[in-house]
Amino acid sequence: MDIDNKKATRQSYGEALVELGKKNNNIVVLDADLSTATKSNMFKKEFPERFFDMGISEQDMMGTAAGMASCGKIPFASTFAVFAAGRSYDQIRNSICYPKLNVKICGSHSGVTVGEDGATHQMLEDISIMKALPNMTVFSVSDDIETKWAVSEAAKINGPVYIRTCRAKTPVIYNENQEFELGKAVKIGDGTDATIFATGVTVSEAVLAKEELEKQGINVRVVDIHTIKPIDSEMIVKCAKETKKLISIEDHNVIGGLGSSIADVLAEEYPQKLIKMGINDRFGESGTSGELMEKFNLLSVDIINVVKSN
């Protein structure tokens, strides 16, 4: 991982949409007046006849996408995660998930790394809400390469998909040849001192922590959980068996997010202690993305401290 080679996953989303649009005429994209921020405007520029701005009305956007999907289109509906999963929850539940319609929802600007806009715009509950819906697949992507895979994979799934992306630029972790599989986590390293389960923006921090710990003679592995649902139970149990300590870290409320998903698996299949790092049941606040990562203990240094503590 080259720490200086950075790109925001929302940017990768926009690029991936354009690629999909070239291959498949049934791809349509909707946005709710945020296309310049979610980067769906890249698709708009390339395929204006297949782009629909619904204005500031997320609920209507989700319903419209559902109607299009029922007629054979593959709609990607994009807006900030807080408005996608929050404002239009009932529409996603009753008009998309219940009828199992082929709608892809992209919640961009997730987590505290949204930064200066503050708590009202920092979505910390979307994983929790979206994974609770039957028929829904949930992706939470960590870098450019993974995002492009997730978008392309989402189009192949016949049913609702939620993709969580971020505003902040994050390091590109993977190279072009990396292979991903739906519901299969990516294991980075084989260290047995600890497993750091991460998702989204925290994956690169976990990788940095791993590299630093290696220098100190502590060997950990990082597990990038890009598919929150269906979760990779097999990998979680394997790591629980093979490593001494289990840690999860996420830019999301620790209630209902990545850590809870892992704890669910452990409780049923291989009871083991899990240390959940993340946002501890509170709202975010204004600040730069970096300042907030520091304040909420989401940095590699925080992971290192937890790995080394007793």
Binding site: V28, E49, R50, F52, M54, G55, S57, Q59, D60, M61, M62, G63, T64, A65, A66, G67, M68, A69, S70, C71, G72, K73, P75, D90, Q91, R93, N94, S95, Y98, P99, K100
Partner: protein, 275 residues
Amino acid sequence: MRVSDDDIRDLERVAVEVRKSVVEEVYLAKSGHPGGALSCVDILVSLYFNQMNINPEKPDDENRDRFILSKGHACAALYAVLAHRGYFDKELLKGFRKLGSPLQGHPDKNKLPGIDMSSGSLGQGLSIANGMALSSKLDSKGFRVYCLVGDGEIQEGQFWEAAMSSSHYKLDNLCLIVDKNNLQIDGRTKDVMNVDPLNKKLESFGFEVFEVDGNNIDEVISVLQKVKTIKGKPCAIIANTVKGKGVSYMENKEEWHGKAPNEEEFNKAIEELKF
């Protein structure tokens, strides 16, 4: 083209049979929503037996006209109309709202042929109809989309978001029908949360608005024909109806929004429902 008096009479006869089925569905289920189902029967019969381009043999034909029952609780009427139209066996109506039945308490598109969209949470149907109408235009398929909403239902904010979109995207293949029976669970719509003047509101949102007696099949059909000639904007039909229409003791009584008749009431209703 004017529909003949004989044809209208045949449709009215169908509507009576459908009403009997609605009452029986709710009676056997011991629960359901007879009031709002009975108010929209004549509209549904006009659509499914005369105006919509549909074929019960091919319920998934991609060029078919679409219908969305946004007021999903009125599904006893939709189920009865579909059964009488030949989409499925009328025997299935007896399982309405029962465990294991495809006739769910609110429509499920994946359980029953002929249901174009699941519904139940109010205020969502028009957005879905817009999405279908946009798809029809995008693929130059030319099918039309009909969306039936209740007058209480349009108190939901999403309905007005969707109304803006219908007009913004000039969806002239879309026809909104408001089943205006003036009652909702808590009482008269004008007392609970007034939606009037509805014609002016819809006009100002960019709809071509028509008003009609929604329990008069002759009138409903002629306005549905007129709607097809309007270009460049969506149409809305305000169908003035009577909640509980056809069953004397249910008519205009909000308490019949969501309860089933007992045996005596059921027999009285069946006796009254004659052509």
